[in-house]
């Protein structure tokens, strides 16, 4: 399984505002900032539930844009992710709903983050589970 990964962001505060909102419905938050003396002053922060799994670091825009899909535990979490991400300035890239072309119970939503990366929340469970 993927333990952790990350993203280079051009505006850390803008990214933080977006990910604070988008990941909260999935139970995650910014858990730690790496002390600037360890990063040469670059802002580096890790999101997660109990440990940092998704890292943001101030830097160049990554191109072509990346795609990250976070596992949601219910369809309601996917809906909440989408709503919160849009409210925080994310751009719609696919409303919450089934994507049967992937599999019958693939329920996902897609939002572009401030740098244009395609961020998804997905639940693979059957309705109501």
């Amino acid at each position: 399984m993927i333990d952790h990964t990350g993203l280079s962001v051009t505006d850390f505060e803008a990214a933080k505002k977006f990910y604070d909102a988008a990941l909260a419905p999935l139970g995650a938050k910014l858990l730690m900032m790496v002390p600037p003396e360890h990063t040469g002053g670059v802002k580096v922060g890790g999101y997660g539930k109990t440990k940092p799994d998704f890292w943001l670091h101030q830097g160049q825009k990554q191109t072509p844009p990346l795609h990250f899909a976070f596992a949601a535990e219910s369809r309601a979490e996917v809906d909440a992710f989408y709503k919160a991400a849009i409210a925080a300035g994310g751009k719609d890239n696919g409303a919450p709903g089934l994507r049967p072309q992937y599999h019958a119970d693939y329920y996902g939503a897609f939002v572009l983050d401030p740098d244009g990366h395609n961020i998804e929340a997905v639940c693979h469970k059957k309705a109501g589970k």
């Binding site: 333990d3 952790h4 139970g27 440990k51 191109t63 072509p64 990346l66 990250f68 899909a69 976070f70």
Partner: protein, 139 residues
């Protein structure tokens, strides 16, 4: 319902310039971690670019899309349950065209049991295997 303890990346898609070369690397490097190809599409089949997905069972965890060389490159870490798999990943990755970016060993600065190895793939992505587990196990 049991709540998951971790924010889990369901899947991630990276860009590569040469999907055939990247595929050869990942097939070799990820096999010791238990991941294999779960899906593959030509540009014609996907309607956009060629893609290949690696995962366990039928579920893709890492997808490569032939959209061009990504800059800056990405970092992805895969966790396994034993140290042997970490070493096998490193050896297989180097053999398959990767570049050493950190030999297998404890990274005590992160955690006393953080046993990891790092290989740079042919496209510059920094791929890591990590274990908090024992020497051997069921990778």
């Amino acid at each position: 319902m049991t709540r998951e303890l971790e924010l889990r990346l369901d899947h991630v898609t990276l860009s590569v310039a040469d999907i055939d070369a990247a595929k050869a690397f990942y097939v070799a490097a990820l096999a010791p971690l238990g991941l294999g190809i779960v899906g593959e599409m030509s540009a014609r089949q996907s309607g956009s670019v060629a893609m290949v997905g690696f995962g366990i069972g039928r579920k893709g965890q890492l997808w490569l899309a032939e959209k061009g060389r990504q800059h800056p490159a990405s970092h992805i870490c895969f966790r396994v349950d034993n140290r042997r798999a970490v070493r096998d990943f490193h050896a297989a990755g180097l053999e398959a065209g990767g570049t050493d970016n950190g030999a297998p060993g404890i990274r005590a600065a992160y955690h006393p049991e953080y046993y990891a190895a790092f290989v740079t793939d042919p496209e510059g992505h920094n791929i890591e295997a990590l274990s908090f587990g024992p020497e051997d196990g069921n990778a």
